[in-house]
């Protein structure tokens, strides 16, 4: 009877599903199924058996088979529990990984922005360096200012000297002028005096030659 039920043509529904389920569940091989069938058969035999001892030994055998069946059932239940918990665990880990992936994406976007910022900063620094190099070529402003000041002072000093020299020159010139003009005047006066004295002498001689009118 069971054999007929076991035939795949008689199974209701999709044969594949059932085959798959059976193959999955029956991890222990045909052991469990056979054991249950054997138990049922031995129970029937035991009910129909006569003698006491045989009946007792058969009874013991049946009890052991029963406990074996219970044991394997317990094992299967535990495995089922374990599978459920594993599934939960995996779900949890899956969610965590999803969160960390999203977090990593955000960090990547942040870092990209930071890179752009850093590149801008680097560019500014390099521009600054380039200009600084050019500026270095030119001499220092303080030094040039100092040089300018010193030159200015020298210039002032020299112009002072020039002024004083010119003043001296003017003074000398004026003094010489005065001297020369005085000399000329003296010369003039001397010449005048000479002329006067000549004229006087001439008058005197003419008066002597013509005394009595």
């Amino acid at each position: 009877m069971e054999r007929i039920a076991l035939r795949p043509e008689n199974w209701p529904g999709t044969a594949d599903e059932v085959i798959r389920k059976r193959l999955l569940i029956d991890g222990d091989g045909a052991g469990d199924d056979r054991r249950i069938n054997l138990l049922v058969k031995s129970f029937i035999k035991w009910c129909n058996s006569g003698s006491q001892e045989e009946g007792y030994s058969q009874y013991q055998r049946m009890l052991s088979t029963l406990s074996q069946c219970e044991f394997s059932m317990g094992k299967t239940l535990l495995v089922y529990d374990m599978n459920l918990r594993e599934m939960e665990n995996y779900e949890k880990i899956y969610k965590e990984i999803e969160c960390s992936i999203a977090g990593a994406h955000e960090k990547i976007a942040e870092c990209k922005k930071q890179i752009l910022q850093a590149k801008r900063i680097r560019k500014n620094r390099q521009e600054y360096d380039a200009l600084a190099k050019v500026i270095q070529h030119h001499p220092d402003r303080h030094e040039t200012l100092k040089e300018l000041e010193a030159l200015g002072k020298e210039l002032e000093h020299l112009s002072h000297i020039k002024e004083s020299v010119e003043d001296k020159l003017e003074l000398r010139r004026k003094q010489f002028h005065v001297l020369l003009s005085t000399i000329h005047e003296l010369q003039q006066t001397l010449e005048n005096d000479e002329k006067l004295s000549e004229v006087e002498e001439a008058q005197e001689t003419s008066m002597e030659t013509d005394p009595k009118p």
């Binding site: 360096d129 380039a130 190099k133």
Partner: protein, 341 residues
């Protein structure tokens, strides 16, 4: 035993012609679409190819995604420069500038929206337009090229408003200084001139070749590339690639690169440059070479950084030059792959 020799398959005329074309191609200009997902490249045959960056960068990219989704003949001569507004692609070549609608191009309808020619002094000369620059504040486009002048064109009305004269030889490159709306132009005469857009006058002139630190007389005095960051400017070409402080007009750092550079740009805290030589060079402002990443073309003419906010996944650097390939760098450290015409 005789080895069987496979019979030679005669290549059709068309295939030979196309292979020769690809061999001799030079890509002069690139431009990214306003949505950030497409790249336009213009070559010396006057063709513009549109590549889909999002397809090429996606995880299931195949060989075909690295080919253009549409190629069309835009100009009769080479397409020297291209620029994108938020709806249009503007391309310029020999003498005229044409506009295309991005939406139309992506649907493979390649009809130009309009074409304009700046007023040239004589009608005989058809000078090439080497550089295009968009000024978003006044919604205008600046063109500069072979006739040594900068022409400003208002994008709404299409009229040419100013012609800035001052250069004595043709102009290679333009850059916009955002804070005070000034345009910098560099040309064959070796001078970088700053023009104030409001007064339409030349504000400052920097004659690069006259400075001993950067001049290289054996290369010439031409300025091939310009980039500006408001207070600072990088220029290169015949003279060495140098960083200038604009306010004081002094060269601050000379980058030790032998080969003349054809394109330079500021990016974050680096300066990217490319020119003769396979590599894209990355410099720090202090003059140190941070990295040199080789590309696939023997010489590079243009670099393009896709920084459109609408497509952050397509944020790549593309480099193109003396070959039919456009190198794509997803990370500045190495070349990821190449798109090809």
């Amino acid at each position: 035993m005789e080895r069987a020799v496979p019979p030679a398959v005669p290549l059709g005329q068309m295939e030979v012609f196309q292979a020769l074309q690809r061999l001799h191609m030079t890509i002069f200009s690139q431009s990214v679409s306003p949505c950030g997902k497409f790249l336009a490249a213009g070559n010396n045959y006057g063709q513009i190819a549109i590549f889909s960056l999002s397809a090429a960068l996606s995880s299931e990219a195949k060989e075909e995604s690295k080919k253009p989704i549409v190629t069309f003949q835009a100009h009769d001569g080479p397409v020297y420069s291209m620029v994108s507004t938020d709806r249009h692609l503007l391309s310029a070549g020999d003498g005229e500038v044409k506009a295309w609608l991005w939406a139309e191009i992506l649907k493979k309808g390649c009809k130009e929206l309009w074409r304009r020619q700046p007023p040239y002094r004589t009608s005989l000369e058809v000078p090439e337009i080497n550089a295009l620059l968009l000024v978003p504040k006044e919604n205008s486009l600046i063109l500069a090229g072979g006739d040594c002048q900068l022409h400003t064109m208002d994008l709404e009305t299409g009229t040419f408003t100013r012609a800035l004269r001052g250069h004595t030889d043709y102009i290679h490159c333009l850059a916009l200084r955002e804070r005070s709306p000034e345009v910098l132009s560099g040309g064959e005469d070796g001078a970088v001139r700053l023009w104030d857009l409001r007064t339409a006058r030349e504000v400052q002139t920097i004659e690069v070749y006259k400075h001993e630190e950067c001049s290289r007389p054996h290369n010439g005095r031409w300025i091939g590339c310009l980039a500006t960051d408001s207070d600072w400017m990088v220029c290169g070409g015949g003279p060495a690639l140098t960083l200038w402080h604009l306010r004081s007009s002094t060269p601050t750092t000379v980058f030790p690169m032998r080969a003349p550079q054809k394109h330079v740009t500021f990016y974050q805290d680096l300066i990217l440059s490319a020119g003769q030589g396979r590599c894209v060079n990355q410099w720090q402002l202090s003059g140190e070479l941070k990295a040199q990443v080789p590309g696939s073309s023997p010489g590079l003419l243009s670099l393009s950084l896709n920084q459109q906010p609408a497509a952050p996944e397509c944020k790549v650097l593309t480099a193109a030059g003396n070959s039919c390939r456009v190198d794509v760098f997803t990370n500045l450290g190495y070349r990821a792959f190449s798109l090809s015409f």
